[in-house]
Symmetry: C2
Subunit: 591 residues, 2 copies
């Protein structure tokens, strides 16, 4: 299966849903003006098509293996990573003083999507490095930054994020990895970390581990966690990787998907402790880690978009080739392509429209992050920052749910062939499955949205978001175009439901917080449908202006409103009336 | 992971949703009276727990392999199959004259569910044999029946169903396997069949292949297809398997799931043709095959229920053990079991309630099949037959969709551990994934429901079904019990939506058939929610009478109505207004 980077769709979403055009006009995206965004997209898309996609299946088949204490990646992966470094892609958004290009997150989101479509398992390595760049840049000492940042930014060294321990998954307060102070100001780490993505591998010459651990005198719980940097190879006086640190990969997990990405159990301090350096302040590690995690959440959302896109491309291709039966509108000889059967077409449209809706949400989130740094006016920066906070859990959870649904539909479109691994459709489904789990399960994202994000600025942040949706609906309603169908009516109902559910949630948070928790997941879904549906609708306004060759955008937005957003009223009821039957579950679940 | 046969849940659904109690009172289930059903369930459940469940994981790990031209099954599978024969389970519903027990389908459905929960890949072998028993009994000549039936009924020989060819999947009119008449009245077969479940294996001493093929002078299309029986080993004069027939397994598929079940490409007639015997009349093969397929569709629906049940058991167990965070209602020390977090509880209740709803639909279908044979009155038999026809596509498609959804939720409940294959949750998801595809994809089931089943008896069959749902709702409304919550209101809305959508479909079939096809999938979902929701509600009436120890049934029915059935109005809109945006998909899918 080849991957074709969908630059047109991507650029259209960036420009007309996420506000790239507006941002260029306002000077926020001066560095993307004059077609520069398209140029980068073009190059990044070529890299995805030519370098990353061809090795994706091999990574799934071979996986990675532990050999003589080190992880060997799948055939072709080292070479691809060398090209990654050569292309300078690792430093796309990194600070210029560390050798990066400091380009906006919106552009990075688009590139990341394409690369991940082509090869999710490979892209996890650079993804972890990106998070580390952010954390080090924001929280690291000048020394750490000087020594480590340029190498990670160039891609020569990669980085990892070490949070999870067997007893500490979603709840980090339970973690036990121990850090001991040394007289030279460094630390020694002792403990075991699990689920460490690219904890070891053979593609980079050094690996920089960022590790959460607890000092002996730390307070209990999350306020006693510190962040440390422990390199795989200690640096000699020239800053060159030399002696091995006391950290090793103990074993690799056998996973449902992303086989190409080694998931390691890491042992720190088998001997005299892994040499490590403090990042940020003692006992403030969680704040540092949140910097990485917040960034990673959007990236994981993009994984959902990316695999949905890949599965959609593959399903459309297959459905246009595979012939079975005879659709009523088919005028050719013999059997018609299955893409012409209404029921298959519904699956393909569900895939296409869901993918595009999730994409708009992720890109809008990236734009909000950019605006929070780049807007001139302080109020605008603050509001954009809050908007990014509000949208991030939706971008993560809604998009990865869509990733699961669309990749599963992709299997379905292929019929029996979809269940055969050689076909490739099943791999996308297996790969996508982790994205609703890691970086905070989707349930935790929903709780974050309801508990922490809805109350932002006393509810003004979410109110502004809803007002923005309503404005688009008003504009769409004014366009008197038959091809819009029931789009604006369905979207208005969807946003009405969101508003009702939001009001309910804000009240419940005070007086019945468990009711809010019980409805958080359907609430997030409702939010995603409303935000995605209205963003697609905004794109129809641009499509209408540009002309008939953009009719596809209108058809997609209409389909999404008429066939996906229609779930809104039910979700609203589930939020506002469904909690009681969640709470009374005890007996039903006793069995 | 151990499996615990949920006899109480099963018996409750049989008795109070599917009408076992009523059937016993009416004499239809005289053979299940005096607790006989419970006795059989108990024995079948023990077989599932003790024999089938323990080898399930090994089957997934080892799969089966092709060795010296024959398929070797996973370690322990031959021994389990020997116990299967010994237990006499293969003949549960088979005719007594062939050595079977002729027990009702309702009981068989319950047993099949339990065995499939324990080991779906294993149970595919007996499942294929069951279909062959039915087809041979109904369409085979006396000679064929005398020679082959007793051996298949005892389980000593197994059977296969050979339909699919590379170019002929959902559309059997395209099949090419050739049958040539011989002077002795037998036939020779030449051709290739793909996706043949247990096409070869080492558990039975002979394999009876039922094969669709085309005679040289057959008319084109589906009216030129005949059904043949071709044994793996030809029988000598004593009826003992002797010389190998000209049929072989050419290769095995690498599949997403059900690894323990060999999926074979079969070659017929490499040399001088596979010796075969006609089943039924020439060119009437499709009718014979439909006998097998119709039966198989309910069994596949039960696979959805079975894996959903298994995944639910495992998720509940894990969620009660795994501790993270602290739920507000938790009074113990330290972290609480994740089952106490409202968001996890919602997942578990969704799993539990969906599984039970799908179960009721499958059991009701089985009861209708029994009634179509056993009712005294001819009208009752005909109506029951039509009811079985109506419900069968819903039982197949709704239940297997639920199978996908619930097994995926099962992975989610396990968090990161769910993605690790050793945990076992992922296997259920992989195994379940085929069930929405084979035996007619769920899209084809939906088309069957709308095109062929809704018009039965001029719409009276579906009208009776809806009236039956309304009667339950009326009874539930009369019970003034606070713990019912909004159950009857939500159910009434759901059935209203079903009625509106049904009326729309019946009209569309005449004037805009493509609109009916475009909405078939959401229509089937809506039907499943209404039928499942009201069946659960019917169980609450019994639970209420029995007393407070049955409160769980009420809580589950309420949850399903308040959190699942709420999708109904949206599905109705998707059916009645969503087709236009399916038809205009051309540009959007051109990419």
């Amino acid at each position: 299966m080849t991957y074709r980077a969908p630059q047109n769709d991507i650029l259209f979403a960036m420009s007309h849903a996420a506000g790239l055009d507006r941002g260029i006009a306002q000077g926020i995206y001066a560095d993307l003006a004059d077609g520069f965004a398209a140029t980068i997209l073009d190059q990044a898309g070529t890299f995805a098509e030519d370098v990353l996609a061809p090795i994706n299946r091999q990574g799934d088949l071979s996986g990675s293996r532990l050999e003589n204490g080190g992880v060997v990646t799948a055939p072709g992966w080292r070479e691809a990573y060398a090209k990654w470094i050569e292309g300078g892609w690792a430093g796309l958004t990194a600070p210029q003083e560390a050798g990066g290009m400091a380009l906006p997150h919106l552009l990075d989101a688009a590139c990341l999507e394409m690369w991940t479509s082509a090869n999710m398992a490979f892209m996890l390595c650079p993804l972890l490095s990106s998070g580390a760049i952010l954390a080090l840049d924001r929280h690291g000492s000048d020394d750490l930054k000087r020594i480590y940042l340029p190498k990670i930014v160039s891609g020569e060294w990669s980085a990892t994020m070490n949070l999870t321990e067997p007893q500490a998954g979603s709840d980090l307060s339970a973690l036990r990895t121990r850090a001991e102070r040394q007289s030279d100001g460094s630390y020694r780490l002792f403990g075991q970390k699990i689920f460490i993505t690219y904890g070891d591998h053979d593609m980079a010459e050094n690996i920089v581990h960022l590790v959460l651990a607890r000092l002996p005198d730390a307070p209990p719980g999350t306020r006693g966690i510190s962040l440390f940097l422990a390199p795989k190879f200690l640096l000699d006086d020239n800053g060159t990787p030399g002696k091995a640190n006391d950290v090793r990969c103990h074993s690799l997990e056998h996973k449902l998907g992303i086989h190409g990405s080694p998931t390691c159990t890491m042992i720190y301090g088998d001997k005299d402790g892994a040499v490590a350096y403090l990042v940020g302040e003692e006992n403030r590690g969680l704040a540092c880690m949140f910097t990485m995690m917040n960034n990673a959440r959007l990236s994981v959302g993009l994984q959902g978009v990316a695999l949905a896109e890949m599965a959609t491309q593959k399903a459309i291709e297959y459905a246009n080739e595979r012939r079975q039966g005879r659709a009523s509108g088919f005028s050719g000889q013999g059997m018609s392509p299955i893409a012409q059967h209404p029921d298959v077409r519904r699956m393909l449209m569900t895939m296409k429209a869901s993918t595009m809706a999730a994409r708009t949400i992720c890109y809008m989130t990236a734009e909000a992050i950019d605006r929070s740094h780049r807007a001139e006016d302080e109020t605008a920066r603050r509001q954009a920052g809050e908007r990014a906070s509000l949208l991030t859990p939706v971008a993560k959870a809604f998009s990865t749910d869509i990733g699961n649904e669309v990749t599963s539909l992709g299997v379905q479109v292929h019929g029996g062939m979809g269940f055969i691994e050689e076909t490739g459709a099943a791999q996308f489904m297996r790969d996508a499955r982790i994205a609703t789990i890691y970086e905070g399960t989707n349930g935790i994202q929903a709780i974050d949205l309801v508990q922490r994000k809805l109350p932002l600025s006393g509810g003004d942040t979410v109110a502004r978001e809803i007002a923005d949706m309503r404005e688009t609906i008003a504009q769409v309603s004014q366009v008197n175009d038959a091809s819009f169908g029931h789009m604006s009516a369905r979207l208005a109902e969807t946003v009405d439901s969101l508003q009702t559910a939001t009001r309910y949630m804000l009240e419940a948070l005070g007086k019945a917080p468990d009711d809010a928790l019980a409805g958080a997941v359907p609430y997030l879904r409702l939010f995603g449908l409303a935000r995605g549906g209205t963003a697609l609708a905004r794109m129809t306004l641009a499509a209408k202006q540009i002309g008939s060759d953009q009719q596809a955008h209108i058809d997609i937005a209409r389909f999404f409103a008429e066939n996906m957003c229609i779930a809104a009223r039910g979700l609203e009821l589930s939020v506002t009336e469904g909690a009681a039957s969640v709470h009374t579950a005890e007996k039903a679940l006793a069995s």
